[in-house]
Amino acid sequence: MRKHVAHAIGAAALWVSYSPLLFAQDEPLVLDDDVIFDGDLGFGIPSDAIPTDFDASFDDVFDNPFDVANESEQPIPAWLEGFTVKLSQQVLFQTKTHLAGVTLANGQRINMPHLADIETNRMGANIRYQYAFAPGWLLQASAQARLFLYDDYEFEANNQSFETEYRLNEFFFQRSFGSHSVKLGNQTVVWGEVDGNSVLDVINITEFRDFSIIDIEDARLNQPMLVWDYFGDLFGERSQVSTFVTLYPEYNPPIVRGSPFYFEPPNALVDYKRGKSLDFEGGIKWSRSFSGSDVSLMAARLIENQLRYSAPPNPTDDALSTNNTYTLFGVSANRAFGKLLLNLDLAYSAGIVVSSFNIPGFAGSNTTDLRHDQLGVSFGLEYAIDNEQNIALSVQGQKMVDDNESSQFALNDDVSGVWLMRYSNSLMNSDLALAISMQGDIDAEYTILQASADRTLNDHWAAGINLIVLEGVETTPIALFEGDIRVGFSITYTF
């Protein structure tokens, strides 16, 4: 345990300590008086040589933005302007050949050989569309397509043949009138102030399919909802009331075959079989801004995003899946102190099933159906070190708060939770972004470290490289990947 704490602290300290040295200020350029700007009329030109129409200076360098002739003679139709397309190619390698293993609760040891190999190799297209087709009306949609190439785990799982995947993410209509806004369709609702580590960010389902997705911002999936927002002062100055309801709750999708997280279950895990009873989720949030602070109160009737699977009476049948309805009460607040921002989320969940999944992509193997009340807290701080550097720290903790004597398998009788740290440094006017993030559990039993460098080449092209290192003790699920070192590359074209 201490090893992982030391790794985390050490890595953070090294990065923060050496950044100023790496990026220390150079000697400023001394401009001689005879230096001129691109042959035009800039500074440093002897005054008697400067014509009076000096206003032309600098413009040529920037494609002369004031030149009306530069504008397209045939404007793009309004309905076409709303498209943003991003094409990408991504490759992720597991670079280390070694033996990983996990020790089960009964003492049994399971060893798994890990070979250095390509894990993901895929092309992607993300399309986003936003069109205000009439006053007060908006259509917003986004979709993605994936083509899984050689050596991608989905390529391998599909008998080594090319596999494609298409998904409609957002698709909703919005109508805004007066102080009201109504949205109907596939969308997301995000509660909580602590980025990436909030106990209140539980409305939408998520999918952690592989190690190319380890942030909840990327894993969140849209769901069909009706959302109504009220922006008037009826409930206080600078306040807002937001509600949502869905009559078609969805659940975290099962792990896809071939994924590094995939395990062969004894019974097939299939979609939830909906009965005749009406399943619905709904919630309301009131929020208000004060000087230097935002405060929100919320309540919701929710269905847990993760289904519970159990063995069917007939061993050859699909696994039985059940869902669980619970009630959530929450409070979130932030407070800015100059360059420091503090965030706090509190969640009281009444009637959740005992089991928690702090490790993305894993389902507990010995969960129980006992229902408990749970108190969750997320606390985070963000600090702008200087103009280029930013650091965010957060910790999330959860604890069962009701005593259930029949609980013989209570997994969360102690405080459990995760911590997250993100540091970023943007250089070259943000064309080069360096970032490092670490996350782990508060018992310091595992650590996931990710470092990335993203280079924006121009208005369209960008490239990135990232490194993922996993460390975990044998009794945690992450131990199946302990010692893995992943290196990823990506290139994107956006227009």
Partner: protein, 311 residues
């Protein structure tokens, strides 16, 4: 997906360090005067006069801007971009509030590049000493409006870059002249115009908040436009230089519509071109709220109303 997240975090980080562009930038560049001044004006009086004009120009404004940034080099004693500039297209709306209308609320929306399209930032800037400015932004990756902590000019010494450019909030700041010792050094010529050369040295209190040991301004004597500004570090070395051009009479005030900030340490420069400047626009107070960031249908409807006023 990692790259996708990183891209958005890059934008986020970029904006987290940034404060409002709209009025502050306009304030700085729109140094103008509507009357000629007697030769007996002191440096402080000249700067005070320009401050008053700046605020009048920025109130109820709707602007379209192009922000271009590149690495520069010197070739045959000419400074040129050494790479193709990165260009951002922005739209901003601002309005003054509060006592003497010295507080500002503003919204800036990124139109281009495509990767950053739709990112919006809302900022409340307060004139009151000790009251933090407030900034919120909306990123689709986060799925919500987020308050940003980036400090303010009153309490923090680190300036914030404006949309990842070489302009910082300190460079674009106005007012607070009482925090400087202002000296009229000489009358000279800059860019073919008669100018006052004015030195601004921060007092002890201000010195703790600024990275500049002094600032030299070259103010057009007739138009009251700053044609050149030199910023010096604590070792008295010039580290940044701002050049103004395209000085035009806009809505009754002389205005520099093109500003180029050169960072002499990183050898990078940014140009802010004010393609359109409209003042006296009727702006609904509700537009300058968080709703504009997250309610796109509302935002587009209100923006269309503003655009219609320009015709």
């Amino acid at each position: 997906m990692i790259a996708f997240a990183a891209t958005h975090r890059t934008v986020l980080n970029r904006l987290m360090m940034n404060r409002i562009l709209t009025t502050a930038a306009v304030f700085y560049c729109l140094i103008a005067a509507n009357t000629s001044l007697a030769q007996s004006l002191t440096g402080r009086e000249i700067m005070e006069r320009t401050d008053d004009n700046q605020r009048s120009i920025s109130d109820s404004s709707f602007n379209r801007m192009q922000l271009s940034t590149c690495r520069f080099g010197i070739k045959d004693v000419k400074i040129t971009c050494a790479e193709r500039p990165r260009v951002k297209a922005l739209e901003s709306v601002g309005k003054n509030y509060g006592p003497n209308r010295r507080d500002t609320k503003s919204v800036t929306i990124v139109l281009e590049p495509a990767a950053e399209r739709g990112i919006g930032m809302l900022s409340y800037s307060y004139d009151e000493s000790g009251r933090d400015n407030e900034t919120w932004l909306y990123l689709s990756a986060l799925g919500r409006v987020k308050r940003i902590a980036s400090g303010n000019s009153e309490d923090d010494s680190e300036p914030a870059s404006v949309f990842g450019s070489e302009f910082t909030t300190e460079d674009t700041e106005t007012g607070k002249l009482e925090e400087y010792e202002i000296t009229l050094l000489e009358e000279t010529i800059e860019s073919g115009r008669d100018v006052w050369k004015i030195e601004m040295v921060p007092n002890k209190e201000r010195a703790r908040k600024t990275r500049y040991s002094k600032v030299i301004q070259y103010i057009d004597k007739e138009r009251f436009v700053s044609l050149r500004t030199e910023m010096y570090d604590q070792y008295a070395k010039e580290i940044k230089r701002l050049m103004a051009s395209r000085v035009e009479l806009v809505n009754g005030a002389w205005t520099a519509r093109s500003l180029t900030m050169m960072n002499l340490v990183t050898n990078r420069l940014s140009n802010m071109a004010f393609l359109e400047i409209h003042t006296g626009i009727e702006i609904d107070d509700n537009f300058l709220t968080q709703r504009t960031l997250e309610d796109v249908a509302f935002r587009e409807t209100e923006l269309e109303k503003l655009r219609n006023q320009l015709q």
